[in-house]
């Protein structure tokens, strides 16, 4: 089988209005999960990855990797820059380095992205279980 195409990108995290509405609705809500377990990708990059919108992708950095849903970015062009809203899914891959000022590096992180149509997006509970040891 041919290996999945991989793409080196810069990862940004941030607020979206959907995430803002979801977090006020409740962190356990469907709206919240659907608003933060996504990755906005430039249409050109989707082509390079050979996938359509709403396919699952695996985003990996030096700190971890997570499966999220690819969303076609409407605000291109921003080739090789991808965006995941703040949330437990983004936390898996962001850079914890605080450079001695307390602030982790949450934007501009080198990352790799590859199609993962067969891998599921973990639910919040599954993600917490995977990431943290349950006592």
């Amino acid at each position: 089988m041919r290996e999945n195409p991989k793409l080196r990108v810069t990862l940004l995290t941030g607020r979206t209005i959907e995430q803002g509405v979801g977090k006020e609705r409740g962190k356990a809500s469907k709206e919240y999960m659907e608003s933060v377990s996504v990755c906005y990708i430039d249409p050109e990059d989707l082509k390079k990855l050979g996938i359509k919108e709403k396919t699952n992708v695996l985003v990996s950095t030096d700190y971890g990797s997570v499966v999220v849903k690819a969303i076609k970015s409407l605000r291109g062009p921003h080739p090789e820059v991808v965006f995941i809203p703040y949330g437990p899914w983004a936390n898996v891959v962001v850079d914890p380095e605080t450079h001695s000022v307390g602030m982790p590096s949450l934007k501009g992180i080198p990352a790799e992205i590859e199609p993962a149509p067969d891998k599921p997006i973990l639910s919040l509970e599954e993600l917490l279980e995977e990431q943290f040891e349950k006592r």
Partner: protein, 492 residues
């Protein structure tokens, strides 16, 4: 009036407890103790007010027993929380940005009592901005000044359309000021023109049946005509084209992690120095010159900066450059700068922390007196070094917002959460104490991003047995004091 069955009241001038804009013109319709209608608010505001009695609320105190959270009495939960805090050598008390100043004051008393580290969400937000302001100083003003006078508005590394949805409408480009007209109509014309253009294009595509789409338009080489119009101008500088960027008269796209270079290039241009490269941070120098010229020529400029500057490479140094840019600009014209504070009372948390301890965040009481050294005493660093022994989280959700490695240490140790919602952190907690929504079910004071204090109203009653943060913290504090006295007697 016996025939009126439904009890419906309208409460006006309610302050919205969501973001740092703290809009205070919200109108709520309350029916039988429930908010049924929200007027004037943004999507987040509406979501918060209408969800105050949603299924995601925690209504009873919970304690983890045999790996499961089980319902207990409030007294038991408070007692368990006090035991955890009193027994820990180095506890963390974190959150505070989504509660009232009054609750934060009690939190600081508790931190001193237990000798822990108390920190607010500024640490992962505008903490670097605070550090930089302490170094450089800030020329700022209130949002009212901007509404009435600013003729050039710049948002840098900030997306107000998503994070502070009514900011542009209430305080900047689309607000109707005494000396500055709203640019709203111009924006509508622009939108209508772009819709018409899209319609014509799609009609042409239909006529020329399956013609290949033309090459995407190349970026303009000169500033758009809107930049030379009379009246208010809006510029957005960001690493991606956000919705705010679409609203703007001019959008400048900077390469990720290169804001510092761009800011310093602006400083050079404003000091009439020449730049002998063709582009800086992906932006042709020609554009920079035009925008620098606009900044100098404006009558009253404002630079709002977001976490796009504090979270990317350079962090506080980016803010150093931004504050210095504005200082330089004041040699040529009037210019002010303001951080876009996220949570509704993060500015209040910084203010109360400073009154009580002398420092705005990352305060360590472990030696009995307050110490401040972000990087060492900041909660993120304490967690990443794995030093804390227990945590109390108030009105915040660090497991949903901290890098995994920091959250890992947080959940490994005893964890107490005080929150109205079953937050992600609450799901991992050992003690969960439900609280009333400040600004909906409890009154208090909050500070807007420009440090103007505003009253938060209580408009409905909290669910039965659910107390405000301030009251819960007082009970924990009193219990901790009892335990500490007991420990002293036993030791003696």
């Amino acid at each position: 009036m016996g025939y009126v069955k439904r009890k419906m009241t309208i409460v006006k001038a309610v302050t919205c407890p969501v973001c740092g804009s703290l809009c205070d013109d919200i109108e709520l319709t309350i029916e039988n103790g429930r908010i049924v209608k929200v007027k004037n608010g943004c999507a987040m505001c509406e979501s918060k007010f209408l969800s105050h009695n949603s299924e995601h609320r925690v209504l009873k105190p919970l304690i983890r027993k045999n790996g499961k959270l089980v319902e207990v009495s409030l007294e038991e939960a408070v007692k368990r929380a006090a035991e955890i805090l009193a027994e820990a050598n180095y506890p963390i008390l974190y959150g505070w940005s989504s509660t009232s100043c009054e609750a934060t004051r009690v939190g600081l008393e508790l931190a001193e009592e237990v000798g822990g580290v108390i920190d607010n969400t500024a640490v992962v937000c505008h903490g670097p901005s605070i550090l930089s302001i302490q170094d450089i100083g800030i020329s700022s003003c209130t949002l009212g000044q901007i509404r009435h006078r600013a003729d050039l508005v710049v948002y840098w590394g900030s997306n107000p359309w998503s994070a502070h949805p009514r900011h542009i409408e209430r305080y900047t480009a689309f607000s109707e000021g005494r000396f500055q007209r709203s640019a709203w109509k111009g924006y509508l014309t622009k939108i209508k023109a772009s819709i018409a253009k899209k319609k014509i294009e799609s009609a042409l595509r239909r006529v020329f049946f399956r013609r290949k789409p033309s090459v995407p338009p190349q970026p303009r080489m000169e500033l758009p005509p809107a930049m030379f119009k009379e009246g208010r101008k809006l510029i957005v500088i960001d690493v991606r084209k956000t919705k705010s960027a679409e609203i703007a008269d001019y959008f400048m796209q900077v390469e990720p992690n290169k804001d510092y270079e761009l800011l310093q290039a602006f400083r050079a241009l404003i000091r009439d120095q020449e730049i002998d490269v063709d582009e800086v941070a992906g932006v042709p120098v020609g554009y920079l010159e035009e925008v620098a010229d606009l900044m100098i020529r404006c009558g009253f400029g404002i630079l709002f900066f977001g976490v796009g500057l504090t979270m990317s490479k350079g962090k506080l140094r980016n803010i150093d450059a931004a504050l210095s840019l504005v200082r330089d600009l004041n040699m040529r014209t009037k210019f002010v700068i303001m951080p876009m504070r996220g949570h509704f009372n993060v500015a209040g948390a910084n203010t109360v922390f400073t009154w009580q301890t002398g420092y705005p965040y990352a305060v360590d009481f472990s030696l009995g007196y307050p110490r401040y050294n972000p990087g060492e005493t900041s909660v993120t660093d304490v967690l990443l070094r794995g030093e804390s022994e227990a945590s109390l989280i108030v009105a915040s959700d660090p497991v949903a917002n901290f890098p995994r490695k920091a959250a890992e240490h947080l959940v490994k140790n005893p964890l107490i959460v005080i929150d109205p919602h079953m937050s992600v952190t609450a799901q991992m907690a050992d003690v969960v104490i439900p609280s009333a929504f400040v600004g909906i079910e409890a009154s208090g004071t909050a500070y807007r991003m420009d440090h103007v204090p505003l009253p938060l109203k209580k408009v409905v009653d909290p669910p039965k047995g659910v107390l405000p943060d301030e009251e819960i913290l007082r009970r924990i504090l009193s219990e901790v004091r009892k335990l500490k006295r007991k420990m002293l007697v036993e030791a003696a």
